[in-house]
């Protein structure tokens, strides 16, 4: 990626075009000869899976938008019209609704992978921050998309979340009125949410391009966390090696996706969203989609409204500071025995918060939510800064090639023994 491409097209027409717009060279250097570390595991396939999901969401979303009516009295029935009367409308809608969940599932795996293997550390800070921006844009997009069917949970979810801004002192109320386009969530709110829900995915595409660009400048991190020392010994070309591996991972991911779409399409949704929005009837429990639950739990753990809002946004914003909060020189968690314990504690805390976010904020749920929220923030603000100072890491492999050798042991040797005979 860095530096001018050495790519020369085979055909004369290709060479003519390449000397005018070197797009072939760009693709060639980014997705064909681009060196990828040999020791990547399947957690590294989630970047490709996320690109696939982004494209899938945009395609299904654009077609759905052709049939959807963003008007408060017609939105709900237009979605039912898609489900009942549009050819394969049920398929498009279930793909899109479950696709959002799959997208978030993949992004959480992707983020946790980065956190475990220290992918945010120098020189990948900008790459990481671009990722945090993509995550924020995804959350905004998903939230607005969930409002569009105009069911009970759409309406009340929108009311609760937009109302958070009213916690800001002085300017809060005017901001909420401005967001709503009126004095409550209503048709103007639905209209602007639809416009933004259509716009934001393309902004995500833009930031994803920057994210991939930054990735291809620094090169990928890898499970050993040691930098590529020799392109020849430590890496393999993107095509065919990463291409085929990612393709396999994507198809396995599609199996999971299809399971939800075809067999349990409503499992991840809320039953209340099959009731048309009614401003006069509040649902018993207003619960966001599962992928927002950990942040919702943090919001409700703080007794003050403003404090809760700050904590919730802070819990996401803090990710952007991770490169400077982690003081350890060692990238990969594989070589950090203590870090591993705290990291898996963090994963459990995040999932625990997710569970608590779905429960009413009362009694022991609140206490547990507060404890886990404290751990969530302590992980970033106390544990990671101190751990780097006190922890004794394990010995790192000298190179990526050494890491591959050390890992496979006998299986690799067996493969090597066969290799000469097959190659002749």
């Amino acid at each position: 990626m860095s530096g001018p491409s050495t790519y020369v097209p085979k055909s004369a027409l290709g060479r003519w075009f390449e000397s005018r717009l070197p797009i072939g060279g760009l693709i060639h250097s980014s997705f064909v000869v681009y060196p990828t570390p040999k020791n990547l595991n399947y957690f590294w396939a989630f970047g490709g899976i996320l690109s696939l999901m982004l494209v899938a969401q945009i395609i299904t979303g654009v077609v759905l938008a052709m049939h959807y009516t963003p008007e408060a009295t017609m939105a709900f029935s237009s979605v039912e019209n898609i489900m009942r009367n549009v050819n394969y409308g049920w398929l498009l809608r279930y793909l899109h609704a479950n696709g959002a969940s799959m997208f978030f599932f993949a992004v959480y795996v992707h983020i946790f992978r980065g956190m475990f293997y220290g992918s945010y550390k120098a020189p990948r800070e900008v790459l990481w921050i671009l990722g945090v921006i993509i995550f924020l844009l995804m959350m905004a997009t998903a939230f607005m998309g969930y409002v569009l069917p105009w069911g009970q949970m759409s309406f009340w979810g929108a009311t609760v979340i937009t109302n958070l801004f009213s916690a800001l002192p002085g300017i809060g109320e005017p901001i909420v009125t401005w967001l709503w386009g009126g004095y409550s969530v209503d048709n103007p709110t639905l209209n602007r949410f639809f416009a933004l829900h259509y716009l934001l995915p393309f902004m995500i595409v833009g930031v994803v391009i920057l994210h991939v660009w930054a990735l291809h400048v620094t090169g990928q991190n890898n499970p050993a966390g040691v930098e590529v020392k020799s392109v020849e010994r430590d890496t393999v070309p993107f095509t065919p090696y990463a291409t085929i591996k990612d393709a396999f991972a994507m198809v396995v991911f599609l199996i999971l996706y299809s399971w939800f779409v075809f067999y349990v399409p409503n499992y991840l949704g809320d039953a209340d969203n099959y009731i048309v929005a009614n401003p006069l009837v509040t649902p018993a429990h207003i619960v966001p989609e599962w992928y927002f639950l950990p942040f919702y739990a943090i919001l409700r753990s703080i007794p003050s409204k403003l404090g809760g809002v700050i904590a919730m946004f802070g819990s996401i914003a803090i990710l952007a500071f991770l490169p400077w909060l982690d003081t350890s020189k060692i990238r990969s968690g594989r070589f950090r025995p203590l870090f591993q314990i705290f990291f898996f504690g963090f994963v459990i805390a995040a999932m625990g918060l997710g569970y608590l976010g779905s429960k009413p904020p009362e009694g022991a749920y609140v206490i547990a939510g507060r404890l886990l929220s404290v751990y969530y923030f302590a992980y970033f603000l106390v544990i990671l800064p101190l751990l780097g100072l006190f922890e004794t890491p394990r010995t790192l492999p000298a190179t990526i090639a050494d890491d591959v050798l050390a890992k496979g042991g006998s299986a690799i040797l067996a493969g090597a023994a066969q290799a000469p005979s097959t190659k002749g």
Partner: protein
């Protein structure tokens, strides 16, 4: 050495807080169930459950009969008549649907004179509602009854931890029909027609709508409350999810394709990567 004790302290603190939160998590689940006081609806066996589930046509037709003779007096069902003839549903014949639609009066207009008029229903019309609007229904019944076309997807009950984690694997999607069945069988107090075991808060505006013998079946099925409840719950699930059979049928094909494709890709990947590790050894 001081480092060791320091880190050990961290560890025990982390472990303790995790254990504490875990124990806190396990307590309120049972406490909460006690507070709600609604029994959990029993899981029924439905012909449409599972990856190969299909609706029982005769059951859907009986369920429609229950809807038409009982539910439709209060509840609306805004789906077109024609859907009852579609594949994957009750599958009435076109002629039957034409006759059914014609038996209803539908408001249409305005005509050339600018007036609204009534005409016989056509298969493309929605089932008309017994009330002009929600306000009229609320005035007559005390509370406007819920629309029925999505009712079976708009109702659920709490599965609780850890069952809700198992549901996607066992493909349990029939919470709505199970709840409706339980509710229709849940009028347990003879002296209070508005008391229901399963309704949140127990006070339901709808008095027991069904009892043994209120609908006369022509196919010899038992004319009991349980049978009516089961038939109408099935019908409502079809009404909420009319494309379910097509969806599961396509799902199976997609799954077979993806699994074979994944297998082929796996072996291709193995072949492509086979020489990578070998090279690493030889160059070493």
């Amino acid at each position: 050495m001081t480092f060791r004790t320091h880190t050990l302290g961290w560890l025990t603190a982390a472990a303790a807080s995790l254990l504490l939160s875990a124990s806190l998590l396990s307590v309120p689940v049972s406490a909460q169930e006690g507070a709600h006081e609604q029994p959990t609806p029993a899981r029924q066996s439905w012909t449409f459950a599972g990856p190969f589930g299909k609706f029982d046509r005769a059951q859907l037709q009986r369920g429609f009969q229950v809807y038409k003779e009982v539910c439709s007096n209060c509840h609306s069902l805004s789906i077109p008549f024609r859907t009852l003839a579609q594949p994957g549903g009750p599958e009435y014949s076109e002629a039957q649907i034409k006759a059914l639609a014609a038996s209803y009066k539908v408001k249409d207009g305005p005509n050339e004179a600018g007036e609204m008029f009534e005409r016989a229903g056509r298969p493309s019309d929605n089932f008309p509602w017994a009330f002009a609007n929600e306000q009229a229904a609320a005035a007559a019944l005390g509370k406007s009854p819920p629309e029925m076309n999505l009712l079976a997807k708009a109702r659920k009950y709490e599965r609780g931890f850890p069952l809700f984690l198992i549901d996607p694997f066992i493909q349990y999607q029939e919470l709505g029909p199970d709840y409706i069945y339980a509710l229709l069988n849940g009028y347990s107090k003879a002296d209070d027609p508005n008391y229901n075991d399963y309704y949140p808060g127990h006070k339901i505006a709808m008095g027991a709508p069904l009892s043994d013998g209120v609908v006369t079946y022509t196919d010899g099925s038992p004319q009991t409350l349980q049978q009516y409840a089961k038939d109408v719950a099935s019908f409502l699930y079809w009404a909420a999810e009319p494309s379910m059979e097509a969806r599961k049928k396509m799902g199976f094909r997609v799954m077979v394709f993806l699994i074979i494709f994944a297998g082929l890709l796996y072996f291709t990947k193995k072949k492509v990567w086979a020489d990578v590790h070998g090279d690493a050894v030889t160059t070493h």
